[in-house]
């Protein structure tokens, strides 16, 4: 039997434009974050020894890893912005300093830089203190976390400078010219016109830097900082169970990076705009 039906138009179908999906919908890749988190919970529940013991043992390491990453990241945004502005500056001295900084930093491995700041830098300060007879410098002992953060900001700031430079240069010259022709100063035009547009361009690479930083923070385990990786090594040397320890450490890093990637992705989609 044939019954005539009103043609039903699927509104969703009609209005679907690729790349224009509703922005508030939860990203589908969240399930991967949930999956990894689920594996961690499951392992700790089913086999508290050693998995739950590992988590309890390394949790202060997680805190150090997160603190170093977040604080370094916030500071390196400022360094990156200054470095980026310096790289496009028409002032030769400023430009030279910024370029020298970027080129030097990018040519030395991060691990070597961290070791230098941790082991060599305090000695340099102490030597200077001895020569100048300033006892505050001669007895210089820096906090290990501060030195690590400084090392990361110094190194990543250089890469960030290049990202800012490229982002600023991607904004058409006419935007700056229009702002200047209205009587705005260079810095007013930068602040109100160029940077707000450049931020949207550089968000994806800056987000990548954050995730890279989260992983690279494990390098501080080489300079006597009890981060997640170092705490893992300490647990292992006491209990001799490499498979369980390093699997759990890997899962903990994974759940953090996947989570960060989702956050970055969310912010990216919220700030996207057409031109």
């Amino acid at each position: 039997m044939f019954t005539r039906r009103e043609p039903k138009i699927d509104e969703q179908e009609l209005t679907h434009i690729p790349g224009a999906e509703p922005q508030n919908r939860l990203d589908a890749w969240w399930w991967l974050v949930a999956l990894v988190a689920g594996v961690i919970v499951l392992l700790s529940l089913l086999q508290p020894d050693p998995y739950w013991r590992i988590i309890l043992f390394v949790r202060d390491g997680i805190a150090i890893t997160v603190v170093i990453t977040v604080v370094s990241f916030i500071l390196m945004l400022f360094v990156g912005m200054l470095g980026g502005l310096g790289r496009i500056s028409k002032n030769r001295v400023v430009n030279l300093i910024a370029t020298l900084y970027v080129e030097l930093v990018r040519g030395v491995p991060l691990l070597v830089q961290l070791i230098w700041w941790y082991f060599a830098f305090p000695v340099v300060i102490q030597q200077i203190g001895k020569w100048t007879h300033i006892s505050a410098l001669a007895n210089f002992h820096a906090n290990a976390i501060l030195l690590a953060i400084f090392g990361f900001v110094f190194c990543y700031g250089a890469y960030m400078s290049e990202i800012f430079r490229a982002g600023i240069q991607s904004i058409p010259k006419g935007q700056m010219e229009a702002a200047r022709s209205l009587g705005m100063s260079y810095f007013q035009a930068m602040r109100h016109i160029v940077l707000p547009q450049a931020i949207r361009v550089i968000l994806p690479p800056v987000g990548n830097e954050f995730i890279a930083l989260l992983k690279d923070s494990s390098l501080v385990s080489a300079v006597a900082l009890a981060d997640l990786t170092r705490r893992g090594r300490e647990f292992m040397s006491a209990n001799f169970n490499p498979i369980e320890v390093w699997t759990m450490i890997a899962l903990l890093y994974l759940v953090m990076t996947l989570f960060a990637a989702r956050i970055v992705n969310y912010i990216e989609r919220r700030t996207k705009f057409e031109r």
């Binding site: 058409p172 006419g174 935007q175 010219e177 229009a178 702002a179 200047r180 022709s181 209205l182 009587g183 705005m184 100063s185 007013q188 109100h192 016109i193 707000p196 547009q197 949207r200 705009f273 057409e274 031109r275």
Partner: protein, 248 residues
């Protein structure tokens, strides 16, 4: 007190070099208050460079520019002079991340330090004047080229400039949008705004000015009222150029 007969723009023998390219080769020009000057010429003739030198988007290599009594080379604050000179670009250059209203408000706030309500009122009146008050909350990418250019004109006018520069304002527009922009410019000319316009719109030139300049290879070749320049130019180069432009 300024002498009322003194030209508002006084340009004396300016040169501009971009590396090996000699873009302006000794241009002298005087523009009176309330005058509309149209500049025509082939691409690369230096007409845009001349315009950009007037508001110092380009610094000229040598020569003298005096705008409204201020020497541009000695001006301590070039931004102060720029506030008095509005500029309209070929590619509109609206601020892409701001609404039409915010495009008009920003410089009023940060440069002129106007109060928000006052700036809003000025902006709304100007949007009415250019015929698109209903687009106040739209973003530039939602507007047609003609609408964008009219917003750009309104944005420049919001600063109450004494001089308006137009750098090929209709060259990037579809033909049916050219008129809406030219109408706004013509109304502005009738109000007595001092305008320097780089444009090949002969109809506009005829209606708006009695002084048109032909430039080629960085020099002013010929100056005449539009009717005379378009119909019986003196110089060979002008004839050659016009024959190419007018046959379109």
């Amino acid at each position: 007190m300024k002498d009322s007969n003194e030209p508002i723009i006084h340009i004396e023998n300016i040169h501009k070099r971009f590396g090996r390219i000699h873009a302006l080769r000794g241009v002298s020009l005087q523009i009176q208050k309330g005058e509309v000057l149209v500049i025509v010429g082939p691409s690369g003739s230096g007409k845009s460079t001349l315009l950009r030198c007037i508001n110092q988007l380009e610094e000229c290599t040598s020569g003298k520019i005096i705008v409204d009594g201020i020497h541009l080379d000695s001006a301590q604050n070039i931004n102060a002079v720029r506030q008095e000179i509005g500029m309209v670009f070929q590619s509109f250059n609206l601020f892409a991340h701001l609404t039409v209203m915010d495009n008009l408000l920003l410089a009023q706030k940060v440069v002129r330090r106007r109060k928000k309500e006052e700036a809003r009122e000025i902006a709304l009146n100007l949007l009415k004047k250019v015929g698109i008050p209903e687009k106040a909350n739209a973003y530039p990418y939602h507007l047609s080229g003609g609408q964008q250019q009219r917003v750009a004109i309104a944005r420049a006018l919001a600063m109450n400039p004494r001089i308006m520069l137009f750098d090929e304002p209709t060259s990037a527009l579809d033909p049916e949008m050219i008129k809406e922009v030219l109408d706004v410019m013509l109304a502005l000319a009738k109000e007595g705004m001092t305008m320097v316009v780089v444009s090949h719109e002969m109809g506009f030139a005829r209606a708006a000015t009695n002084r048109i300049i032909f430039m080629d290879e960085g020099q002013i070749i010929e100056e005449a009222p539009p009717d005379i320049l378009f119909t019986s130019p003196k110089h060979e180069r002008t004839k050659l150029f016009l024959s190419k432009v007018l046959q379109l």
